[in-house]
């Protein structure tokens, strides 16, 4: 990151600080799920369906059960005592959501390749892998439904026979009158935008270790949401929540794929109780690709209307969302998250999104980095590019013309939400400081002369994150069956060391460091003595986890508020000791001191000493510890402007990203280094989808991309270094002025890359292209534009 024009807000806040997390990670001392073992642990291996859709005729477990070292083999029928099927936590008022039962082990039918049919439990990892091969399952194949649009046609075979059709739900969100506005528009452009299915693909697959003993259950699981998992383990196993402890140990990436309540979690707990032994299961990559929830997979029909002068008047989108075989925790909600920001950073008075969810015989989809917002941004930005082309306008000019002006914030938009803050011209101006469009156009001409087709793509975006105000997302709002507030507890120890308990569950974002920076400034201590604890339901208050770029804007704000409460009490103690008024006490450097007399003051350790001896002023309780539950008033809306430059080899169709410039605004920075890292990772996640990654099922519902050989994550060798910069437009929603940044890069990048490829290929007549922009697809698009078959 080159420059920002803002001074740090504090001694620690706003400054680069190396991460507190790193020493254990760089020395191999961290404990991920597979690094944990308990005496007497049994291993589980799942027998999974090779069929996409079939009735289970019979399961013969006898040979497997007879193998040495095997303790038990279970099928779905053995788990009849479960309190219910796996959860789907979205039920918006007035919307019917078809929700067939989904069990940890299939009952009667399998609905996608990888659907688990039986579990083998035995003494070691290798023994159960062998035994699982010996379980003999007889299948009677059923018709396979792969294409979501065909699945919606009358007379289509149904994934779930009992349902009789494949439609999950219909849901619309919008404002204004798109039909009327489109009828009045001077110009209309339409596109069919396919946002293909991708895998979350954290480098650490999932894993669980369940230990039920003496009436209590402890579950270690590689999750983003330990508290949700605890709740559902308790409910589905008939246990009291206080007897269930869920621990997310070090988690090796999630990207939404670990925002889930998975069958294997329930299965391991159930089996541990049944067998009286700890039960461990570690997912293989092949299993991960075939069973862990995936993302995107939307087909959108977009229609944009504009006046001749470039004013966008309407944007109407119809989305067919492929949900795969089941609803999982938030499956039907995901496209709706995009609908909230379907108007992007533009002042479009009439916006509507109509969503239909569809079952197919594939792995379920759910939240994957960006969750609905990358899709929305992609379809909006590319349709806007098309409109610019149609109008003969420059792509940046049409954006500028339609930006919601800075003076409009907070801005109520057509989709019914209120954007908290924004200054879209400012980020675009800053982008153009780094990216000289005129120079690029000259360079583009020169390159073309030598046979390289160079293009630039732009994406100006805003997104909705910081999930979430309970009144908007909760049961009375869009219908998530949980408030999405966040908790924090701040405990000052006798010695002045501080432990922070956050209800978020970070797994790489660097929140240990950011939260320590926040607390350190407020309490006048070094971040080194602030320990941040998360991911263990037994140690802190109820929490909501890490997803939706919420950990700082909700979790961090909760920490700030709890710390403020601690500081208030500390000030009262100091005031009494120094015979000053509490309102005259301030934190200055490493001391609480009397305003104007920095020499008169006390360090936190001294204050804690008084608090724990109990010599506190009258009316105060002893101790120095506070808890907060923070429910935000609004979402936060980060924004930014990205430019991507690609080179396309017109002969082979190969695309290479040669430059990427990202200017993002996520409000005030706590630690600019962490923001930069999130943008890097987010951008490459989007580049990965645009150019390399694709989950593909063939017509028989067989997964073609079942390993990292076929599912192509980009490597360092495919990528350039990235250029990043920021502007800072504080959010009015929280006291620190922060927004989220974990998903922003992903939300912007696929549109920027695709736009660049289209720009590169326009001279060859290519007007539009859908991802993934694989060499063959690009080559075919060029051939098609030339008028010949590929």
């Amino acid at each position: 990151m080159s420059v920002t024009d803002h001074a740090p807000a504090g001694r620690h806040v706003g400054r680069v600080m190396r991460r507190k997390e790193d020493p254990r990670l760089i020395t191999g001392q961290a404990r991920y799920i597979d690094d944990i073992s308990l005496p007497g642990t049994l291993w589980a291996s799942l027998v999974r369906s090779p069929e996409a859709h079939a009735k289970i005729v019979s399961v013969d477990v006898s040979e497997a059960a007879a193998r040495p070292g095997v303790r038990a083999v279970y099928t779905g029928e053995d788990m009849a005592d479960l309190g219910g099927p796996l959860p789907m936590a979205w039920a918006p008022p007035g919307v019917e959501v078809a929700n067939p039962e989904h069990w940890p082990l299939a009952r009667g039918t399998v609905n996608h390749v990888g659907d688990p049919v039986a579990v083998v439990i035995g003494e070691d990892r290798y023994a159960v892998a062998d035994a699982a091969e010996d379980v003999i399952v007889e299948y009677d194949p059923l018709p396979v439904i792969v294409d979501p649009e065909k699945a919606l046609q009358d007379g289509a075979d149904a994934v779930h026979e009992s349902l009789g059709h494949n439609k999950v739900h219909e849901w619309s969100l919008g404002g204004g009158d798109v039909e009327a506005a489109l009828a009045d528009a001077d110009v209309i452009v339409e596109r069919r935008v396919v946002n293909h299915r991708i895998a979350g693909a954290p480098i650490e697959p999932r894993g669980v270790l369940a230990d039920y003993r003496a009436g209590s259950l402890t579950l270690w699981t590689s999750t983003q949401v330990p508290h949700f998992v605890r709740l559902f383990m308790a409910l589905l196993l008939g246990l009291s929540e206080d007897h269930v402890r869920v621990i997310a140990p070090e988690v090796g990436g999630g990207f939404g794929s670990k925002l889930q309540v998975y069958g294997e979690e329930l299965l391991a707990c159930w089996a541990s109780r049944k067998l009286g032994r700890p039960v461990k299961w570690i997912e293989t990559r092949t299993e991960n690709m075939a069973t862990t929830h995936q993302g995107r997979d939307q087909i959108a029909y977009t229609k944009m209307g504009a006046k001749r002068d470039g004013t966008i008047t309407a944007f109407h989108v119809k989305i067919v969302a492929d949900f795969g075989a089941y609803n999982m925790l938030l499956t039907p909600l995901i496209p709706s998250l995009g609908a909230f920001v379907m108007g992007g950073c533009y002042k479009i008075p009439n916006v509507q999104t109509d969503i239909v969810g569809v079952f197919t015989n594939k792995v379920p989809t759910d939240a994957i980095r960006g969750a609905g917002r990358p899709e929305a941004t992609h379809m909006l930005e590319l349709t806007l590019d098309a409109m610019a082309h149609e109008l003969g306008m420059d792509r940046l000019e049409i954006r500028r013309k339609n930006f919601i002006p800075a003076e409009d914030f907070p801005a109520a938009v057509a989709t019914g939400v209120i954007y908290d803050s924004g200054d879209y011209d400012k980020t675009l101006d800053k982008l153009l400081e780094h990216f000289d469009v005129e120079a690029f156009r000259r360079e583009q001409e020169e390159q073309r002369a030598s046979g390289i087709y160079r293009g630039v793509g732009f994406c100006t975006y805003t997104e909705i994150c910081g999930l979430a105000p309970s009144r908007v997302t909760g049961p009375a709002g869009v219908g998530v069956q949980a408030g999405l507030w966040e908790s924090a507890m701040v405990r000052v120890h006798n010695t002045g060391a501080v432990t922070v308990y956050t209800g978020t569950s970070p797994h790489g974002q660097g929140l240990d460091t950011a939260m320590a920076q926040i607390v350190a400034d407020k309490l006048g201590v070094d971040p080194a003595v602030v320990e941040v604890v998360h991911g263990d339901t037994a140690t802190g208050p109820e929490g909501r986890g890490t997803y939706g770029s919420r950990s700082l804007a909700t979790g961090g704000e909760a920490v700030a508020r709890a710390t403020d409460k601690v500081a208030t009490k500390a000030k009262a103690i100091v005031a009494a000791e120094l015979e000053a008024a509490p309102e005259d006490i301030e934190v200055s450097g490493d001391r609480f001191s009397v305003r104007g007399s920095p020499d008169k003051g006390m360090a936190l350790a001294d204050i804690a000493g008084i608090a724990y001896i109990g010599a506190v002023p009258e009316g105060l309780e002893p101790g120095l510890e506070e808890t907060t539950f923070y429910d935000p008033e609004n979402f936060v809306f980060p924004f930014g402007a990205h430019a991507c430059v690609v080179d396309v080899d017109p002969e082979t169709g190969k695309v290479k990203v040669i430059r990427y410039v990202a200017v993002d605004d996520c409000g005030r920075a706590i630690n600019p280094m962490l923001i930069e890292g999130q943008v890097h990772g987010g951008v490459v996640y989007g580049i990965g989808q645009a150019l390399y990654e694709r989950v593909h099922y063939d017509e028989e519902g067989q997964l073609v991309t079942g390993t990292f050989v076929d599912y192509a994550l980009p490597t360092a060798a495919e990528l350039p270094s990235l250029e990043t910069d920021r502007t800072e437009t504080p959010s009015p929603v929280n006291s620190m002025g922060v927004k989220g940044v974990g998903e922003a890069g992903t939300i912007a990048a696929s549109a920027a890359v695709t736009s660049a490829v289209i720009d590169a290929l326009r001279p060859l007549g290519v007007e539009f292209i859908n991802m993934p922009l694989s060499p063959m697809r690009v080559w075919e698009a060029i051939a098609e534009a030339k008028g010949g078959a590929a």
């Binding site: 190396r18 991460r19 997390e21 790193d22 020493p23 254990r24 990670l25 760089i26 020395t27 191999g28 001392q29 961290a30 404990r31 991920y32 597979d34 690094d35 040495p68 990892r125 290798y126 693909a201 954290p202 480098i203 650490e204 697959p205 070090e250 988690v251 090796g252 990436g253 990207f255 293989t284 990559r285 092949t286 797994h507 790489g508 974002q509 660097g510 280094m673 962490l674 930069e676 890292g677 890097h680 990772g681 987010g682 951008v683 490459v684 996640y685 390993t707 990292f708 050989v709 994550l713 490597t715 360092a716 060798a717 990528l719 270094s721 990235l722 890069g745």
Partner: protein, 163 residues
């Protein structure tokens, strides 16, 4: 079943004699038998490189080597590189440059990167990127990993000041 065989391994300078099934992967011998859990497993097709260790100084994928194949050889894992109090320069560089997020790919990255610098103490950015093509990271976009490796290289190859 095929019984077990004995294997001698020198891991991080310590001699071990293990009784293993011939099919035991080196990564599982290191993790499950020797408790060296810093070496990770991220795939089953030799793509991700999370399991990278040094075998006689060369970076290799320990998920694609049988423990018996390493009989009598020298293995170095992330635990043998440096400790929190005495970090290897590559570990230090990853920390200084924010070259990691979730940390899962990190041990493998550090092992691959340090092997590169042994061979080529002053690599270009392109050489670093290609040297890491066998290691997948999903968090960092590789930007800060590459920066860390170049930083470590510049520090180790800085000319010594002559007196």
């Amino acid at each position: 079943m095929s019984g077990t065989v004995n294997v001698r391994l020198n891991v991080n300078g310590v001699e071990h004699e293990l009784e293993v099934e011939p099919r035991l992967l080196l990564v599982h011998a290191l993790r499950d038998q020797l408790g060296l859990t810093g070496t990770h497993v991220g795939c089953d097709t030799s793509n991700c490189g999370a399991c990278t260790v040094h075998l006689n100084g060369d970076a290799v994928k320990s998920c694609t080597i049988l423990a018996v194949q390493a009989e009598g050889e020298q293995v170095t894992t992330i635990e043998g590189m440096g400790t929190e109090d005495n970090l290897h320069p590559m570990q230090e560089a990853f920390w200084n440059n924010h070259g990691l997020q979730c940390g899962y790919c990190t041990p493998g990255m550090i092992m691959a990167a340090s092997a590169l610098l042994t061979e080529n103490p002053d690599p270009s950015e392109d050489e670093v990127r290609h040297a890491l093509e066998g290691n997948l990271c999903r968090c960092t976009g590789y930007h800060n990993i590459v920066k860390a490796v170049l930083d470590a290289a510049s520090k180790s190859s800085a000319p010594e000041v002559s007196v």
